[in-house]
């Protein structure tokens, strides 16, 4: 028997077990555990000889098989909580049989899905190619749509450049995120293309700077504004996203 080919075929212990059951024409509800365990162990032995990964999962199943065999040998009695003996009616093989039947269905479902996939692979959907120019940002401009990391870096630069001596008594003027977002929207609407660092220029405290940065991130997330660069390492610009351009 060529085991190497079998290794490719079986996707797990249940798969192997199902194969053994089917090839030996065994009734799934009445599995001769001794016979199956023997065949099963024979297979694992080869796996171990080949020193393959994933043997563990197969061994767990072997242990389960032996446990079932042991249960079947013992009188079918079980202890309940009060220490009384109850007669257990369940066949210890029942659970395994259920699992195998379920697995058989999974195999069937897998086959059906594969057929769907093969059928669909014959059809090339229009989505495989986009109209780049229908998207926000010019086509083929990798600098548009900056990543969060780029923005963080720019913000770091702003923080460093604006390190000003803190005043003795700073008037507590807390500007909310919403207010800041509205302000930025106004600025961007006015200026069309706004320098990222300019937004921060009139802010004094760290908390204001952070709120402002969060406001920018939020606006980008909401797709209200777009952050972009004209050249590598260039100034980051903010611009308004026109609603009409947005592709649905």
């Amino acid at each position: 028997m060529d085991y190497e080919i079998k290794l490719d075929i079986f996707k797990g212990p249940l798969d192997l077990l199902l194969h053994l059951i089917e090839s030996n024409e065994i009734d799934i509800y009445n599995i001769p555990i001794a016979l199956i365990t023997e065949k099963y162990l024979e297979y694992i032995h080869t796996l171990q000889l080949l020193n393959l990964e994933g043997v563990g999962e197969f061994i767990v199943m072997a242990a389960t098989l032996m446990q079932i065999k042991a249960k079947m040998l013992l009188p079918q009695l079980a202890n309940n909580e009060d220490g009384e003996f109850l007669i257990e009616e369940d066949d210890p093989r029942w659970e395994l049989a259920q699992k195998l039947i379920e697995y058989k269905r999974i195999k069937e479902a897998t086959e059906l899905l594969k057929q769907c996939e093969a059928k669909q692979a014959q059809i090339y959907l229009r989505s495989s190619g986009d109209f780049a120019d229908l998207k926000i940002g010019a086509p083929g401009d990798p600098l548009k749509d900056l990543s969060l990391a780029d923005l963080m870096k720019a913000f770091q630069a702003v923080l460093e450049s604006q390190e000003k001596p803190e005043l003795d008594a700073v008037p507590k003027q807390v500007v909310s995120l919403q207010q800041r977002m509205a302000e930025i929207m106004e600025l961007v609407t006015q200026e069309k293309h706004l320098f990222f660092c300019k937004v921060f220029s009139m802010l004094q405290t760290k908390i204001d700077l952070i709120t402002c940065f969060l406001a920018i991130l939020e606006l980008i997330k909401l797709k209200k504004i777009l952050a972009y660069q004209d050249s590598i390492f260039g100034e980051i610009m903010l611009t308004l996203i026109e609603e009409e351009v947005t592709v649905v």
């Binding site: 996707k11 797990g12 195999k107 059809i123």
Partner: protein, 188 residues
């Protein structure tokens, strides 16, 4: 807009969209009522079918999208030089099948059914955007529940989950019904 131009507009919209376009979106953009939109799309589908084009209008993942005819596939493959393959291993498809039919489902539940670890298959499927996190199960540890995505429907040429091929006497085990899942998907 009269009916001829409306049809042209709908055709253009579906052509230019990178995602399957739903009747709802078409109706919203064109300001047509839903019934007219359905009618126009149906006409377009028929038109493409009868004119023996290399392109067909397909209903996929709850929307409409242009696709090529299956008969053209060999030539398209020749054009792109490499045959198409999903790159999914047999094990990954098996995991995907379980998720598709039993969703929403946790990793542990899949592992119990397959009898093997499914860690890497799940990572692979998430990576390919065929499955996604759809919530958390209300059990200790709040494990992640997985479900299929729109991309899954597209990949397998299904319009919705009810179109999954029937598996013989596989009961639905009191899971979410398919319509609810479809709704969850649309929100994602």
């Amino acid at each position: 807009m009269n009916l001829i131009t409306a049809r042209a507009i709908v055709e253009a919209l579906i052509f230019a969209s990178s995602e399957p376009l739903t009747i709802k979106t078409i109706a919203e953009i064109t300001e047509l009522d839903v019934r007219t939109a359905i009618q126009i799309v149906a006409e377009l589908v028929d038109e493409y079918r009868h004119q023996q084009r290399g392109i067909q209008l397909l209903e996929v993942a709850g929307g409409y999208q242009f696709g090529t005819l299956p008969e053209c596939a060999p030539y398209l493959e020749k054009m792109q030089k490499v045959p198409r393959s999903s790159g999914l291993s047999a094990a990954a498809i098996e995991t995907l099948a379980i998720i598709a039919y039993k969703q929403p489902i946790t990793k542990a539940e899949i592992e119990a059914m397959r009898g093997v670890s499914v860690e890497s298959s799940i990572a692979n499927l998430v990576d390919k955007n065929l499955i996604t996190e759809v919530g958390r199960k209300d059990t200790p540890g709040r494990p992640i529940l997985y479900g299929t995505t729109k991309q899954f429907l597209k990949h397998f040429g299904l319009n919705n989950l009810t179109e999954l091929p029937q598996v013989m006497d596989w009961e639905k085990q009191g899971k979410l019904n398919f319509e609810e899942i479809a709704e969850v998907k649309n929100d994602v």
